[in-house]
Amino acid sequence: MRCATPRRALAALVAAGALLMLSLEAHAQARDQIRIVGSSTVFPFTTAVAEQFGRSTPFRTPVVESTGTGGGIRLFCAGIGPQHPDIANASRRMTPAEFDSCQRNGVTEITEIPIGFDGIVVAVRRGGPRFGLTREQMWRALAREVPINGQWVRNPYTHWNQIDPSLPAQAIEIIGPPPTSGTRDSFNELMLSGGCANVPEVRAITDARERQTRCQSIREDGRFIEGGENDNLIVQRLATERHGLIGVFGFSYLDQNTDRLEGKPIDGVEPTYENIQSGRYPVSRSMFIYLKNAHVGVIPGLREFLQEYTSERAMSETGYLQTRGLIVLAPAAREAARAAAASLRPMGRPGT
């Protein structure tokens, strides 16, 4: 009985297929929902704005994908039209190469809006011995090879006091993000490269690439543990394990867990909100969103979305993004961001 009327079944199938194609066609023509892709670091903030925007305006809630900064900008730069995203989240500035690829695909006018800062913190469970670290000490503890008496040798340090006698005799054990995460990129750039910059043996290296390898290669003898893409796992490990384990993750996770964890001062600067905002804390970066100007007026609500994002109730010191761990811009910079969102002045090629 299953296939008693195969002809009728076939006709129904064809009809269903045709209907689907038609509705697909209609779908591709118009999109009434903003689509956003990009950095997982910016994701919590953009989603918060998206939710607020969806609830407080007649527009539909934007769809936000967490693809990583690089992947997001690639999607963003793929072209103009409803099948391409309207906004890209980035935890770093767009590179000149990315900008060029955007231009080649017809995405010529892009508005760049800075939204705030993110800090990378080095934290431990509360109640252990308190000591600050410098970026150079962090690098010495983590590098695969370190210079000793002018010779590059495999990292021999097992305890912090071997690096600097003023540090306690505690075993080096650090848990941090894996190489696939954006936090790791920034950690490499800001903490490790920043830390090895003043080491004379590193300064003697003239080849920029070799210097980067020397600075950013992390030891693989078990002293550094990759904690997984999810910063929460690192937080949970830190909170439950014995003292001595040191974790590396984004500031917002420290901010949410101050009852269990405490941040270590880096180069003598505590990882506090104020220090990251003022730029005194050395391991912090800016975050941006990029808007495709050609989509304004085609996809409904883009202008209003940017207005919400740059409004005082979102990105000021008392705004709702700050309660989620965003380190907000200074008032003048916020004013500039608002102006950029209002004028949609296209950015020039970065770095020129």
């Binding site: 969806g54 999810n230 101050t258 405490e262």
Partner: protein, 442 residues
């Protein structure tokens, strides 16, 4: 291993006593050795089984332990004046419900006057409370002008403090640990609690809402509906195609090099990592066909590709298990090849095919990797309405909560996993019932 010998059923005898006079001592010793080996073998099996059971129990216990509290959410009871000052009776939708709630909080704690303290006071309530009130008044505008005692959703920091225990939080504050609530806020909460206006109430929102950035407002419905739509598309595509392919290969195809090659390829496809299917979906469905990103249609199509090999393999095994005598009998009575298949072989093979399909679908339900490529790993608040609207699936929803920084997401993650397990169980139960109905004996 002496006790093992003692445990051995009747065969065990005190050492040295022959079983029968015909057994030489050497043979008897070997026999005892074989019995002991068998005993050990059984123990290994039992140990393996208990290990699995233990792992399952630990998993379920830890889930329930950390997730059960998510089904209850902290609420505050306040007397709210729904005054015309805040809302225009002709347009209840546009009222200032936030202002109304702030006024209610300040009326409850009239001694709070400083700006900073008032902000702390307002932070006790979730932004969801405002929306609930808006919905309530919009549905029933006659409430305007009345005073209502309402249970209102508390913010996640309050919720976490209540679930930790207010006295423990007070202790933490005293020890100088950074707590997300201030001492004043804790005082207010303690007062509310003493007066019976602070309670954990059943969190029905968890089953009726979509995603949110606030852990106290999240719900699984978006992911649940998304999973359902995606699986329906997957089933609609994979089952007919899979069965047709299996029937052709098993009943009609000639046995030659070419079909052998196809068979090997199908078996290989079943072992291909799922992310590869995601890349395929990105290249074919999105880039070549121009289908929308994040749509259950595309997700279902990708998962159908993923489950096809499993369904084909299971369906072929089920078809092969139908005895040839059934086919021969039908053919000898003059049935055509198609009639043999549709009237006799397929109905008999159906239970086996369904079992394979259930396994394949259960597998597909847990997939996230292929969906990443086609944009289904996304923050989507609206509940999907059809197979073209943006959607996400349950495992993705769980993954995204697991990466949320707010502490409240920890319990929501575990609760989401419980819902996923329940969904999978009910899906399997339904399939087993269906299989029972089509099962036939021969």
């Amino acid at each position: 291993m002496t006790d093992a010998a003692a445990l051995t059923p009747p065969a065990a005898r005190p050492a040295g006593v022959p079983l029968s006079p015909h057994l030489s001592p050497r043979i008897a010793a070997r026999r005892r050795g074989r019995h002991r080996a068998e005993m050990r073998f059984r123990l290994y099996g039992l140990a393996a089984l208990s290990l699995c059971a233990l792992a399952l129990i630990v998993l379920l216990a830890s889930l329930v332990w950390s997730g059960l509290s998510a089904f209850w959410q902290t609420h505050l009871r306040l007397e709210v004046e729904i005054s015309t000052r805040h809302v225009d009776p002709t347009r209840p939708q546009a009222g200032d419900y936030g202002g109304m709630l702030r006024a209610a909080l300040e009326a409850r704690f009239p001694e709070v006057t400083s700006r900073a303290d008032r902000r702390r006071l307002h932070a006790l309530l979730s932004s969801g409370a405002e929306e609930d009130l808006r919905r309530m008044v919009t549905a029933d505008p006659s409430l305007i002008g009345t005073r209502q005692r309402l249970w209102l959703l508390a913010g996640t920091d309050v919720d976490m403090a209540v679930k930790t225990g207010l006295s423990r939080v007070a202790q933490q504050i005293k020890e100088g640990a950074g707590v997300r609530l201030s001492e004043r806020q804790l005082e207010w909460l303690e007062r509310l609690s003493r007066e019976g206006d602070l309670a954990l109430r059943w969190n029905s929102r968890f089953f009726t809402a979509g995603d949110s950035r606030d852990p106290e407002r999240v719900g699984v419905l978006g992911g649940l509906v998304g999973s359902l739509l995606t699986l329906l598309v997957c089933l609609a595509l994979a089952l007919p195609v899979g069965v047709a392919a299996a029937v052709y290969l098993e009943e009609f195809a000639p046995r030659n090099r070419f079909t052998a090659l196809i068979e090997v390829n199908i078996a290989n496809l079943a072992a291909v990592p799922s992310i590869v299917f995601g890349l395929l979906g990105l290249a074919v469905f999105l880039n070549a066909f121009g289908m929308p990103r994040s749509a259950p249609l595309v997700g279902g199509a990708v998962l159908a590709l993923l489950s096809l090999p499993i369904i084909i393999i299971a369906a072929r095994a089920a078809l092969r298990a139908v005895p040839p005598s059934v086919r021969e009998a039908a053919l000898s009575l003059g049935a055509s090849r198609m009639q043999v298949v549709t009237h006799h072989v397929l109905p008999l093979a159906m239970p086996g095919i369904l079992t394979g399909t259930i396994l394949a679908l259960a597998n597909a339900l847990g997939e996230t990797a292929p969906l990443l490529m086609i944009g289904m790993v996304a923050f989507i608040v609206d509940i999907p309405r059809d197979i073209l609207s943006p959607a996400t699936v349950l495992p993705v929803q769980i993954y995204m909560w697991a990466s949320g920084a707010e502490r409240g997401f920890v319990e929501k993650t575990a609760a989401g996993i419980m819902v996923l397990l329940a969904f999978m169980l009910s899906m399997n139960a339904a399939a087993i019932l269906m299989r029972r109905r089509v099962e036939r004996r021969w």
